[in-house]
């Protein structure tokens, strides 16, 4: 481990900070336009009420609830990837954790907004706290998502502290105001042994905590459906199924984020094909697990074919929702396993292709849970219909664009890889003590 290599990854990790080339502004501009379109649609909905959506008396949950489950699911995968890699002390994690944890926060912020977008009277949201009824799954949701949001913010922040100190010391000249912010946020980090120990303990505790927290969030989301009297939702496997779906789509999203930023910020030397192969293995294991859970669910329900479930299953397998279902099952679940799993060339491209398919598939699967379950008959003669309007589509597109936008902006101000963790893995002593030259700004 020589100073040159360290210089290289420090340079790469800090490189995006404060830079705004043409591509950066193009990306920010394009994404902002999409977000603005979504905001416009939401204001329009606020003015006119939920009438402007495709929601109706029979199918009263649609795109917004699907998106809530979908984006929180993605967030969950990011947090889990970060936590598991830390807990198993996987050495290859160092350049990835920051990206995974930032993805988790960005996706969560978007996902958590959707239940509010879905409200008929968002101005009264405070009632959930003022008049909270502990027996309501919505209250469970607010508590679980709130706790998880705080935890994942801390989970992103803690490992960032030493990096902020590094940035503070290195970027003194390049970023004046920013330097002060770094100084404040780094909480006087000097890399002393006591500080190192405290940080390691904090991150360790959070890595352990974040897993049950994330599981609770997705279980509660599942129970939002499973505790109702709707036959197609009233299933014991729903919570674990939702949790697995979340990690699966989340790992796929992490793969995409890593691939994209690796290219844009030139991190190829640190994030290599090996990383993508490992992440692909994770994706395959989760995908197979999901397939198993899903077969278990559909087989037990379909075999008995109770009066209230049979028509819903029929609509999914052979009826009006069959195209979505088979597109998901074949294209979004089975095919990606082969694409990512078969040995051969282009591991990065294949991991990305598989991830895109998995993410699209998991969105479709949430659609197949929410909409047919809603439209299906409560009284045997009563099918509902749902087709989203431009408002729901615009809000969905805007929300999806908000995630890369937040990530790009975030990494313009904060190091894209964890220098501190790279140091640790490469066996470099904490920066200020090894290289006093860097510590110029201190004291």
């Amino acid at each position: 481990m020589d100073a040159r290599t360290r210089g290289l990854y420090v340079e790469r990790a800090l490189w995006p900070i404060g830079r705004g080339d043409r591509n950066f502004w193009l990306a920010v501009g394009g994404l902002s336009a999409l977000v603005a379109l979504g905001l416009y649609a939401y204001v329009y909905q606020l003015q006119n009420g939920l009438w402007v959506t495709g929601l109706n008396q029979k199918v009263s949950w649609g795109f917004y609830i699907i998106n809530c489950v979908f984006f929180i699911g993605i967030s969950y995968g990011g947090a889990m990837t970060g936590a598991i890699l830390r807990l198993t002390n996987a050495k290859w994690r160092a350049p990835l954790t920051r990206l995974a944890e930032a993805t988790a926060v960005a996706a969560l912020l978007v996902g958590a907004v959707f239940p509010i977008i879905d409200l008929g009277r968002p101005d009264r949201f405070i009632n959930v706290i003022l008049y909270a009824q502990v027996g309501s799954p919505i209250v469970w949701d607010v508590v679980a998502i709130g706790t998880y949001l705080v935890a994942s913010l801390v989970f992103l922040y803690l490992p960032l502290i030493p990096d902020l100190a590094i940035a503070r010391d290195l970027l003194g000249s390049r970023a004046n105001v920013l330097g002060k912010v770094y100084g404040m946020l780094s909480l006087g980090w000097r890399g002393t042994h006591a500080q190192e120990r405290a940080l390691a303990r904090g991150v360790g505790i959070l890595a352990v905590l974040i897993i049950p927290l994330a599981i609770s969030v997705h279980s509660v989301l599942a129970w939002l459906f499973a505790v109702t009297s709707r036959g197609a939702w009233h299933s014991t496997i729903f919570a674990p199924l939702f949790v697995l779906a979340a990690v699966l789509s989340g790992v796929a999203a992490v793969i995409l984020v890593i691939a994209a930023l690796r290219k844009v910020y030139g991190l190829q030397a640190f994030i290599t094909a090996k990383h993508f192969r490992y992440l692909s293995y994770l994706l395959i294991a989760l995908g197979m697990g999901y397939l198993y859970f899903m077969i278990s669910e559909y087989l037990t329900e379909g075999y008995v074919a109770a009066e209230e479930i049979a028509p819903v299953l029929e609509s999914i397998f052979v009826g009006q929702y069959a195209p979505s279902f088979w597109a998901f099952a074949i294209g979004g679940l089975v095919l990606p396993l082969f694409i990512a799993g078969l040995p051969g060339r282009y591991p990065v491209a294949r991991a990305c292709l598989a991830s895109i398919l998995v993410i699209a598939g998991m969105w479709l699967k949430r659609f197949l849970i929410v909409v047919p379950g809603m439209a299906g008959p409560i009284m045997p003669w009563e099918w509902g219909r749902y087709s989203p309007t431009w408002v729901e589509i615009a809000i969905t597109v805007g929300a999806a664009a908000a995630i890369p936008l937040m990530l790009i902006v975030f990494f313009r101000f904060f190091p894209v890889m964890s220098v501190h963790e790279l140091d640790e893995i490469e066996g470099v002593e904490p920066a200020p003590r090894l290289a006093p030259a860097f510590a110029g700004g201190e004291e």
């Binding site: 008396q57 949950w61 879905d118 009632n127 909270a132 009297s229």
Partner: protein, 204 residues
């Protein structure tokens, strides 16, 4: 499309000790599917056409015949929609009617609508057994409107029911006519009873 929902507004609660327990009986033998009940309800509550707080279904029975089944809110004693409400906007009054506080509390999350409680406008509205009318000693709008006299409003405490023309002893009436409650097996305790008579399956 602003619409007024007078549902829970202005409902005066019964004095303690005097509470009635409202129930409804629907005689499927008489209903001819004219939907006058739906119309009357929509007029009474200023609802748009797509909002059917009492919805009349045309049902094919297993013998190939058909009959009509009006469905108001069942005002379940163990109402699942009430349990899932995050703000307690959905509640049961002393007279056993499940009401939604649209004025202050309902946030429009529609969690209750996963259970069969229909209708939106920012907040959720539903059949409320016309408590504003029964408070004044009047019949619910749908009961009054039904020319076939198929709908009865009744009181479980006093054990009577009326369709506006004839008054019956509720318990005897239900017993003698083999009344059933829709999806009784869900254990929600509906307060709406049906009298069959067209060969429909009694347990359905």
């Amino acid at each position: 499309m602003p619409i007024a929902f007078p549902a829970a507004e202005g409902h005066v609660r019964a004095a303690p000790g005097k509470a009635r327990q409202w129930a409804m009986v629907i005689d499927l033998r008489k209903c001819d599917g004219c939907k006058e009940c739906t119309l009357a309800c929509q007029t009474e509550h200023a609802l748009p056409k797509s909002f059917e707080w009492i919805k009349v279904f045309e049902v094919k029975d297993s013998q190939g015949g058909k009959y009509f089944m009006p469905r108001p809110c069942f005002q379940c004693e163990n109402a699942p929609c009430l349990r899932v409400c995050p703000t307690g906007a959905t509640f049961r009054d002393e007279e056993g009617v499940v009401l939604v506080d649209q004025v202050d509390k309902c946030i429009g999350c529609r969690m209750c609508m996963e259970h069969p409680v229909p209708q939106i406008k920012g907040t959720v509205g539903k059949c409320m057994f016309c408590v504003h009318r029964t408070d004044d000693g009047k019949l619910p709008a749908c009961v009054e409107a039904c020319a076939m006299e198929a709908l009865y409003i009744g009181d479980l405490v006093e054990d009577v029911a009326t369709n506006g023309n004839e008054t019956v002893r509720l318990s005897t009436f239900l017993k003698e006519n083999d009344a059933f409650r829709y999806k009784e097996d869900l254990g929600t305790g509906p307060r709406v009873y049906y009298i069959a008579g067209h060969g429909q399956l009694l347990d359905n």
